[in-house]
């Protein structure tokens, strides 16, 4: 129960920090900044997806070299 409360607290703190950053980027940013940030986020998300799928044959994993 205590662990769950801590996770919720961490979740809320992260959101409170990140939401203003995202809002500021969307309001004051320009097209190029959004392009770059989306590219970085896409690569990070893709890496997370690949890390979740580690047990694939070596030949398949070679596809990941581009990311």
């Amino acid at each position: 129960m205590k662990k769950k409360n801590n996770t919720n607290k961490t979740r809320i703190i992260s959101a409170v920090i990140l939401i203003p950053i995202v809002v500021a980027i969307l309001i004051f940013g320009n097209k190029y900044l959004i392009d770059i940030l989306c590219s970085i986020l896409a690569i990070l998300a893709l890496r997370e997806y690949f890390n979740a799928n580690v047990e694939r044959p070596k030949e398949i994993r070679r596809l990941r070299i581009f990311f």
Partner: protein, 168 residues
């Protein structure tokens, strides 16, 4: 290890799902009124997530699916309502401050569709996690289960949001 069709499919799915869908976020931002329309995507996602989580936790009794046991039917409905409320409030502000004439009926439709797609995205991410036996995709955003977990609903909404909002 023998290569199976499912291995290739899962690998390519990740590439198409993340890159192919996410490219619509900068595309939407790059449209004529992108700085205004991008907020529909964000508000629909945030409104849906926040309402579904908070209402589902309080009054959620009926389980929605086995893929994600914490989701309830009440939470899903609250998510749709939350999304619609957020986009309608935003449209009222835009119509009042900027003098735009964005039709409310269309925006309610956009809110409903985006919220449903966002929840499908949530379920897709849960299904991937269940399939790969992991709890979180990563720990880059503490408490949120990784970037992919945070972005899953926005990724699913982005192509439809682009198609529905590109003409504004």
């Amino acid at each position: 290890m023998r290569i199976k069709f499912s291995d290739i499919a899962i690998e390519l799915f990740g590439i198409c799902y993340i890159l192919g869908f996410m490219i619509f976020i900068p595309l939407l931002y790059g449209t004529t009124n992108g700085k205004i329309t991008i907020w529909y995507l964000m508000l629909a996602a945030w409104g849906s997530d926040i309402f579904a989580y908070s209402i589902g936790r309080r009054i959620g009794k009926h389980k929605f699916t086995k893929i994600s046991p914490n989701k309830s039917i009440e939470g899903c409905i609250a998510g749709v309502i939350g999304s619609v409320v957020c986009v309608v409030i935003y449209t009222v502000l835009i119509n009042t401050i900027k003098g735009a004439v964005i039709p409310y009926g269309y925006i309610i439709f956009v809110g409903i569709i985006l919220s449903i797609l966002g929840q499908c995205g949530d379920l897709a991410a849960s299904s991937i996690k269940r399939e790969t036996n992991i709890k979180d995709f990563g720990n880059l955003i503490p408490g949120h289960g990784g970037i992919l977990d945070r972005m899953d609903s926005i990724i699913f909404m982005a192509p439809t949001a682009y198609i529905l909002l590109m003409f504004f």
